[in-house]
């Protein structure tokens, strides 16, 4: 226990905490994007996906609280590191000049803290669903009072996995909720700006964790730099395509969870 505490207090220990939590968050944003891109498939795909996540019950809360803990640890460790860094250089240079660092690497704490605001808004928007001015057509009663879980949207399986035997007779119309949520241009603009900040954050972060784990070398440095930038842009384009397609009118509300 003492050894763990002294590790977590050391410079390299704290960096490792940031790298481990950062890697977990990279895996999350990737998985979250793959799930969300079902928005472009027929509506029942994302509705069934949302329903399946909602049906996880206790496991859903384990995942949610786990993610919260990972984000919280990532933030606490980086704030602690940043405060130490500021203390080590209280007076900067009169004419700062840079040769190797990037705007992304020098603004990690700024992009990160703005992303915290983005996450809070995003949760209020689509998880708690309390953003005013929006009424989401989210619950469509298929058959009142009866358990028709196997009838949701007219199909019983998602990616070949049977939907659980959860006693439910409603299913969230996630697809229409997303369309409604992105209809206002300023909300979509906020999401796209947020994703650009995420892109900046990841372009540095996705290469950094490899170095912090001690796995970067001259042999892979070029590939790592290019790879992390490509990954960051792919995340940006993937996520931004959703509000952009709603604003451009390419994806419209269906008014029902099912095609029939």
């Amino acid at each position: 226990m003492n050894a763990l505490l002294s590790y977590c207090r050391s410079s390299i220990g704290k960096k490792t905490i940031v790298a481990v939590t950062g890697l977990l968050l990279i895996l999350f944003v990737t998985g979250h994007l793959v799930g969300n891109l079902q928005f472009f498939l027929p509506p029942e795909w994302i509705n069934a996906y949302g329903h399946k996540l909602q049906s996880l019950g206790a496991l859903l809360w384990v995942i949610r609280l786990g993610l919260l803990a990972v984000v919280g640890t990532h933030i606490l460790a980086t704030i602690s590191l940043t405060l130490q860094n500021r203390k080590a250089r209280p007076q900067g240079y009169a004419v700062p000049a840079y040769r190797a660092s990037t705007a992304a690497s020098r603004t990690m704490i700024v992009s990160g803290l703005i992303l915290v605001c983005f996450i809070v808004f995003h949760l209020l928007h689509f998880t708690v669903r309390v953003v005013p001015g929006h009424t989401y057509n989210e619950e469509i009663h298929l058959v009142d009072g009866t358990v028709v879980n196997h009838e949701i949207g007219g199909f019983t399986k998602h990616w070949g996995i049977p939907l659980g035997d959860v006693p439910a007779h409603t299913v969230h119309n996630v697809h229409d909720m997303m369309v409604a949520g992105f209809q206002r241009w300023y909300i979509s603009a906020f999401y796209i700006v947020g994703m650009f900040l995420l892109c900046m954050h990841l372009s540095h972060g996705a290469a950094s964790f490899v170095q912090t784990f001690g796995l970067r070398s001259r042999q892979i440095e070029k590939g790592l730099t290019i790879g992390s930038r490509l990954f960051a842009w792919a995340i940006f384009l993937g996520y931004s395509s959703i509000p952009a397609s709603v604003l451009l009118g390419l994806v419209k509300a269906t008014g029902s969870t099912c095609c029939k």
Partner: protein, 258 residues
């Protein structure tokens, strides 16, 4: 012989002592030969200051051959100045600057490098990190036969590259976080890749990182500015090596002991 001369305005950080407040003071540097090094240019300016009865600008220097690691200075925001070819300030020539330009000259800035006077900073923090573990404890005796300790070419090259560090502290000065991890990484990697460094390998990395943290250096956040200014061309690979060795040593110290 044709000698081209140049003129500059120097904006130099002047500070009487460690605790005195410092400020920038402008000095003209006139008729500077273009083949003068930056330090020789400061010598010329100092001669004029002394002739006028003014206090000369204090700056660190020793060998003036680019190998001792004594000269420092942050010139126009860059540690060891705008020298593209990885060299120390003494190997920086005035022909690299635009004639008539204003040049900012500042000390290496980091809390563990307190300013002694003007541009001179106290870099003993790096010595204390070295003393914490940057050595091997073998009795050396007379020189052993060459090849008595087989070392692979790859490790010999890696150790030699790391051993090139002259301990000037430019990595700390250039790092936006004032981190000393390139320096510590070089010292740790140098021994970790040789057989002589193995007996104390874990204790060394723990002690040196412990001292580095105690001195109040910042934490590497992978900007790689250090690598860009290092006159000995130390690569940030040594920081990866440092991270790796530290994690393993910590794990061992918590379980089987080091």
């Amino acid at each position: 012989m044709h000698r081209k001369t140049m003129n500059f305005t120097l904006r130099v950080w002047r500070q009487k002592s460690a605790n005195a407040a410092g400020r920038f003071v402008d000095y003209p540097a006139r008729n500077i030969p273009d083949e003068a090094s930056f330090l020789e240019m400061l010598d010329i300016v100092n001669e004029e200051l002394e002739a006028r009865g003014e206090e000369p600008i204090a700056f660190d220097h020793d060998c003036r051959e680019g190998i001792c690691g004594m000269c420092s200075l942050v010139i126009n925001g860059l540690a060891h100045g705008p020298n593209g070819s990885h060299a120390t300030t003494c190997q920086l020539y005035m022909r690299l600057f635009d004639d008539g330009s204003t040049i900012y000259v500042e000390p290496f800035r980091a809390t563990p490098f307190p300013i002694i006077k003007d541009l001179v900073v106290h870099r003993a923090a790096l010595d204390r990190i070295q003393q914490a573990g940057g050595f091997i404890s073998n009795r050396t005796g007379s020189a052993v036969d060459a090849n008595a300790n087989p070392v692979s070419k790859r490790d010999a090259d890696g150790a030699m590259d790391a051993a090139a560090c002259i301990g000037c502290g430019a990595c700390v000065a250039a790092c936006p976080n004032a981190s000393a991890m390139l320096f510590v990484g070089a010292k740790v990697t140098h021994f970790a890749r040789l057989p002589q460094g193995q007996p104390e390998r874990d204790r060394r990395v723990l002690a040196m990182v412990g001292q580095m943290d105690k001195e109040g250096f910042g934490n590497c956040s992978n900007h790689y500015e250090c690598e860009a200014v290092c006159p000995a061309e130390i690569k940030v690979d040594v920081i990866a090596h440092l991270n790796r060795d530290f994690d393993i040593a910590k794990l061992k110290s918590a379980t089987v002991g080091v």
